[in-house]
């Protein structure tokens, strides 16, 4: 009886601690940030850009819960020809708008090249807090570069928020600000078998949607509070079967397109691209004879494609894909080791030695690390086991067809405290020696680091159900990168109903 009482007291104390910590967070007012119109240095300065650029920055920074953006009505005339980058001007205008910080910027354009420079001032002290800058070769890169600066500003405010002492100093809870943000979130059970997941602004600019594919459907979800709300769904065209999904804004309209790899009857590829037209999903391209994947190359992420032949699941070189005259067309083939297939590889300088490595997951092979000449630098474990089984037609009278369990996704991400690392899924099986019959018992996402001595695990998530796919994205306005994992606890069968979950784990900063 006494023990039970002590247990209840402990639980009550823990709940109280959490509650107090939460209240402390709620009580702490986030700082106010004033974003000033941009200063323009260009051969033909276009005045609308002054406000448009600051609007973009304000909107993107405004996704953070660690800062309140006060764009206000600061008129361009208030600057009265003065540079917004001057500390005195920032302090004056910031004080007038009751802002704690002021962000001001300048766009310099020479020919096609441009530079964006921004400065963050502390209004009270009038001191410069941080500088940000980004350059580009073409005007089409201005918006993405502004996004990068916004990301840096969000991170800056997030760091300040986590470093600041709680407003209610009397509350004894340790670092309560971090608790809600770092909580692992698991969705309600979804009655589907997820094959792929991607996250991006599909429906609304600046807002992350969760895109899932099952064998037959494409579904878009949005996280509302603790719920995952189905926004829309779309059946794979022409009786096809979805293989995987990515989202990316390749056409540069500010909204991400959805790129779905799919196979069709007769084992052809019939991949397709969808976009949100304002009220529903609309196909941009269908029956594409490509496996599609958004992959990390040395110069950044790129949409890539690889074909399939009469009797081979993957055939021909991997090529960059791009939009031209409304069609998705293949371009150059990036240099890659010959055995690398499309779905699971990254190209990056993983150990910061200035040399690029190619890391690849291939069916039936351990994780491989190559140099750019195709030499094997190292091996990892057999990560990326997947339940997606592809079988090509059997061309010969008696031979086995080309068949493979597709390797799972591989991502290069910044691992807090460990530099650039890799994320891969590792699924466990109860019987792992059958060619086709698989029985998955659970999975993790594993963080890996490549160093001189080889590949090593940095951390792994807690044990989850079978990991179908995962994505890293700023799912919430906090700006903190989130590991968004699609797990499957029940596979679809003749008599069994499927069940899947979406798990969100903060990666930390």
């Amino acid at each position: 009886m006494k023990a039970g009482k002590v247990g209840i007291q402990k639980r009550f104390a823990a709940a109280l601690l959490l509650l107090v910590g939460w209240c402390a967070v709620a009580a702490a007012e986030p700082p106010r940030l004033l974003v000033l119109p941009f200063e323009l240095f260009a051969a033909q300065p276009q005045d609308y850009l002054r406000r448009a650029l600051s609007d973009v920055l304000a909107n993107r920074i405004g996704q953070s819960r660690d800062v309140v953006v006060v764009q206000g009505d600061t008129p361009a005339e208030a600057l009265a020809g003065r540079s917004p980058l001057a500390a005195a001007v920032a302090q004056e205008l910031g004080t007038a708008q009751r802002a704690d910080y002021v962000l001001s910027g300048r766009l310099t354009q020479i020919g096609n090249r441009f530079s964006v420079d921004a400065t963050l001032f502390d209004v009270k002290s009038g001191q410069l807090v941080e500088r940000y800058s980004a350059e580009g070769a073409d005007a089409s890169e201005i918006i993405p570069k502004l996004g990068e600066i916004a990301q840096s500003v969000r991170q800056s405010f997030a760091s300040r928020a986590s470093a600041a002492p709680p407003a209610a100093a009397a509350a004894p809870a340790p670092a309560p600000q971090a608790v809600p943000a770092r909580k692992t979130w698991i969705s309600k059970a979804l009655p589907i078998e997820i094959r792929g997941i991607a996250v991006g602004p599909v429906i609304e600019r600046g807002r992350a949607d969760i895109v899932l594919v099952t064998r037959q459907e494409l579904q878009i979800y949005r996280r509302r509070g603790e719920d995952l709300e189905l926004v829309t769904r779309y059946g794979a065209p022409r009786g096809g079967e979805n293989i995987g999904v990515d989202v990316a804004d390749i056409d540069g309209d500010g909204l991400a397109e959805i790129y779905v790899s799919a196979s069709a009857p007769s084992n052809a590829l019939a991949s397709y691209v969808m976009r949100w037209n304002g009220s529903a999903l609309q196909p941009l391209a269908t029956a594409l004879p490509w496996h599609l994947r958004l992959a990390q190359l040395a110069d950044g992420p790129a949409l890539l494609g690889q074909g399939r032949s009469f009797d081979k699941l993957f055939d021909g070189p991997i090529r960059r894909l791009g939009w031209r005259d409304g069609k998705l067309v293949p371009g150059e083939a990036p240099p890659l080791p010959g055995h690398v297939t499309l779905y699971s590889f990254v190209v990056a300088d993983l150990n910061g030695d200035g040399k690029t490595q190619v890391v690849s997951l291939q069916s039936r092979s351990p994780l491989m690390v190559y140099d750019m000449q195709g030499r094997v630098l190292g091996y990892g474990a057999k990560y990326g086991q997947s339940a997606v089984y592809l079988e090509d037609r059997r061309a010969t009278n008696d031979g086995q067809p080309d068949q493979a369990q597709l390797p799972g996704r591989l991502r290069a991400v910044h691992l807090p405290g460990n530099g650039l690392g890799l994320l891969a899924a590792e699924n466990q099986e109860s019987i792992g020696f059958f060619y086709r019959a698989r029985n998955f018992t659970g999975g993790n996402v594993v963080a890996l680091r490549w160093q001189e001595q080889g590949l090593s695990e940095v951390w792994r998530t807690e044990q989850l159900a079978y990991v179908a796919d995962f994505h890293v994205s700023e799912l919430q306005p906090s700006g903190e990168p989130m590991l968004v994992i699609a797990t499957v606890s029940n596979f679809e069968g003749m008599v069994s109903k499927p069940r899947s979950f979406v798990v969100v784990i903060p990666l930390g900063k």
């Binding site: 055939d315 039936r364 010969t396 009278n397 060619y435 951390w459 784990i505």
Partner: protein, 440 residues
Amino acid sequence: MRRTAIALAVGALFIAPAAQAQSNVASTFDAKLGGYVQMNTTWDSDEDDNDTLSALRKIAPPPRKAQNGTLPGSAQDGQKTLRWASTRTRLFLDVHGSELWGAKTRAYVEMDFDGLRLNEDSGAASASAANTPRLRRAYMRWDWTNTWVLIGQQTLIFLDAVSPYGTTYIEGVGTQQGAITGGARNRAPAFIAAHNFHFGGSNLEVIGSVARNATNNQPLTDLNDSGARAERPAYETMVKWTMPLFGRQALAAVSTYWGEETINNNPALAPDTATITGTAAALRTQTLRNVGTGLQGALPLGPLTPIGSFEVRGSAFRATNMATWNLGSNSTTSTTPGLAAPVHAHGGWAEVNWQITPKHGVAAGGGVSKDDRNDVLAIGGTTLRVQDNQGYWLMWTWTDGPFGFLTSVSNVNTAWITPTTNAETRNSSQSVHFVFRYSF
């Protein structure tokens, strides 16, 4: 203190990723056991004394009362049977190893249970299946980006670029010796090498093989590695062209086979035989060649449609002294050195298939295989000789994950001739197949 501990514990629950560990990880081999369990149930209008069930009857038996009154027929004619077999079950071990010399390496061993059919008492060939495991294929393979090399026992590459629809998904359409769709199931120890040339979206694969001359034309049939009595290997080539068409792939392939064998009048007098029991003067030998040429293709019929996709496939061959590709019993007109002449044969098949959904498909096809009539007449004697075989089939397949099902109806029309009289005898045979397969 206690409060701090509780707070830390509660906080830790929310902090993920939880486990922080450094561990070295490395492995290079992957071994998988695979195969399938299969049962064939076949209704035949005429008894088939060949125990291997395929989805198309190979040859119709001669009629019970032979036409033209030349010769009596067979007891099999009109003897309806319902036969069952699970001997098509297969098991394989597939090992993928580390990269070696820049190539992915692999070892593969496959067996079935459609055994040697040896008589339990004498060891001689018997029509009753022994159902012992039988080595089908065993090879090592290296795969570079565009090149591959295989060493070991594998299916002959000749006429093996395109298979009928049923074979593609579940079960072959008479791929045994003498069958209409060719005999590419012959396997032989071989060295095979191939290289792929990419031209835009098209691919040209050039394959070459040096293998045991495996035309089955030799008298000692109980040798496990049966083949021609040949001193030289067989040389095979194939050039395979695939290109995108209607969002799918079209294929065209040309293949050749060349081998040489020596027949003699008395095996005991062979020069390398330790004990010579005859006189050297009696030894006579004759060298015969085995030559084949094959054309194969697959053509998508239009783009994918909401009701599925259509495709036509087919192959054609000409063969000389190749028992597996003519009608089986008569690769040469005689076994006597000096008198033997090769039998020429030709044939082909075509099939239209409709893949309705990823799980369901329908195919209809027909084919013909003929030996040159004059060659058959040159054999002489009064034994009925198969000369012309034609067939057609309709099949439906259903696959769902590891499970596969095929049902088909087929008909075979066979013509025999009696060489001494040139009289022709015809008969037909029908069969209905149900094939159940579970792959693992």
